[in-house]
Symmetry: C2
Subunit: 350 residues, 2 copies
């Protein structure tokens, strides 16, 4: 007789063992089991294995660079990525644009009671795969559990440690009128992917997050010998946010050529449909670079040499005035001031 496929053929697991319980956060046996069976099993390395309160690492042999980032994205899984990839890439990219080679990560997770353990496992696998691909170790972590309703499924805070590259000399103070502005590829993909996943919009099935680690791209750019003055990854606030921050801090201005902005046809269509400006939409795998004018060609070549940068473009110039303004020139030469959006946030995109 065939087994009844409508009834489970083995005893139902006790529901509680399939979901995060408050006891997973109380610091006793269940916490240690969670850490050992789920986290240590995935991330094992000599620094994490002792499960001490902190990781003892080798001497760094260079200047230390430190960054921290919380991931609160909703939904947790979306076209092109998930919260685990974002959590790793966010820290890697903040180190990369600061001119550092990423080395170590810490992971602190806030879990909502009732989170399916299988969801947690998927995220942990994703974190592990991303960390492995980036060549960094997860050396320490923390797990807290809050009651149902006190958080939304899972938040992840990653902190990254890197070593400053000797060839990096980056900062707003190095930006000069005449510098060229480059972007490493198409813009707006991440924010649109989140939006379409969250709202159930059909924006075309080619629309996926661009989440990716930028450290190899940055290394290639710096090793090219191009005179790189400033790097930033245009996440929340989009490319416009990065440019506004730059002009505010430097008291210079920026002029962007609209026709030079790489936007995928799919993203362009979605933006037109929704009335959004791709300059304002978050990216998770793009690099804005400001380089000396005479280096612009070398920098562009260095970016395009890698798959991740093969659609890189020179998109504009740093100019002296009007101070603290970002200008956009359309293909007819008409220039308008790009303001920052406000009052219409798209929350929880990263």
């Amino acid at each position: 007789m065939k087994p009844n496929t409508f009834l489970p053929s083995c005893p139902m697991p006790h529901a509680d063992t399939e979901r995060i319980q408050l006891a997973h956060g109380e610091g006793a046996r269940l916490t240690r089991r969670l850490i050992r069976e789920e986290l240590l099993a995935a991330f094992a390395n000599p620094f994490l294995n002792p499960l001490a309160d902190a990781a003892t690492l080798p001497e760094l042999g260079g200047r230390l660079v430190m960054t921290t980032d919380s991931s609160v994205v909703s939904p947790l899984f979306f076209p092109g990525g998930d919260i685990g990839l974002l959590a790793v890439h966010g820290a890697i990219n903040d180190l990369a644009v600061s001119g550092a080679d990423p080395m170590y990560l810490s992971i602190a997770m806030i879990l909502e009671e009732g989170l399916p353990i299988e969801t947690l496992r998927r995220i942990i696998r994703s974190v592990k795969n991303a960390a492995d691909a980036c060549g960094v170790s997860i050396v320490t972590g923390d797990t807290k559990v809050v009651p149902r309703g006190a958080a939304d499924q899972i938040f992840i805070c990653t902190t990254g440690i890197g070593r400053l590259r000797p060839d990096a000399d980056l900062g707003v103070q190095r930006v000069r009128p005449g510098d060229k502005i480059l972007i490493s590829g198409t813009i707006g993909d991440h924010g649109l992917a989140i939006l379409s996943a969250r709202e159930g919009l059909d924006l075309g099935n080619q629309l996926g997050s661009d989440t990716a680690p930028l450290h190899h791209l940055v290394a290639n750019l710096l090793e090219s010998g191009a005179d790189v003055h400033f790097l930033r990854d245009p996440t929340r606030g989009g490319v416009a946010g990065v440019l506004h921050e730059l002009v505010e801090q430097s008291a210079l201005a920026i002029r962007i050529e609209e026709a030079a902005l790489p936007v995928s046809p799919c993203a362009r269509g979605a933006c037109e449909l929704l009335g959004l400006d791709p300059l304002h939409i978050a990216n998770e795998g793009k690099l804005v670079a400001v380089v000396g004018a005479e280096s612009a060609g070398a920098a562009l070549n260095a970016l395009r040499y890698q798959l991740l940068g093969n659609q890189a473009a020179i998109i504009g110039d740093v100019i002296a005035s009007p101070s603290a303004e970002v200008l956009l020139a359309n293909r007819f030469g008409q220039v308008r001031i790009i303001d920052e959006p406000s009052g219409a946030p798209l929350p929880r995109i990263c």
Copy 2:
């Protein structure tokens, strides 16, 4: 004519400016204003001031120690402390018990839409005061805002970086039968303070959290020349949690003398009233030290020399068997096995 005291004498502030809005998290102008006016104003230091995506720090000149910790305590303010103090002391103490001198902190905050800005300011002041008192700089940070109901007011993730002290040689592998176990002061105060604040219990007005930074106490202990084998701060899971972790990892056993445990009269009364065991209750400013037997006196003196350790006590011994068990001997010499609590968690105590 006297102004009508029932009407405001100046225009009412727009309610939105008094509370965290989603736009504070979108990465544009409001985010930058929040960071500049609230965070940078409080934490200003040469590493944070550039507001880059990462902090570029000097060479460390020693082995790097890294720890991370999320604070999700509820309520945010409680007798003896608040979430800001816990967030700083948690990272400091994890570094301290790993034998490191704390140097740098990062702060990542997840804010719930609607959080009063004044609440955030109080917490920021608290973080700043604690960091100043501990001699550490807050060098980088991150701020995310989630919609109402997706988090509970504020969660803080702190990551700490320290330099390993050359005089520290700590680890479970150094623990031997015959070693003495010390505690730096009274136990159970933090968990009871949270419980009384949360449940509105009147457990006596002397009951306050013991939250405190332990790095000076640890430095004093290590500099005393005592043969220190293992250090841990008994937070979640209490002293029992630390001891269970130790016996599980070492396959040794521990015997604690109940009469030697320092418990304040107020905490003892509260535990008796509530049927709780002070060994299971969280602390946030206590140190468990395992030292070679011949060093126990010197270690005790070193702890007692500081105000924070003036109630330190030798509370038990490491013994060879029964493997992986923690035993408690009462004042009549009767011995019982101390189990870990489970199924009755007190969530969100740190």
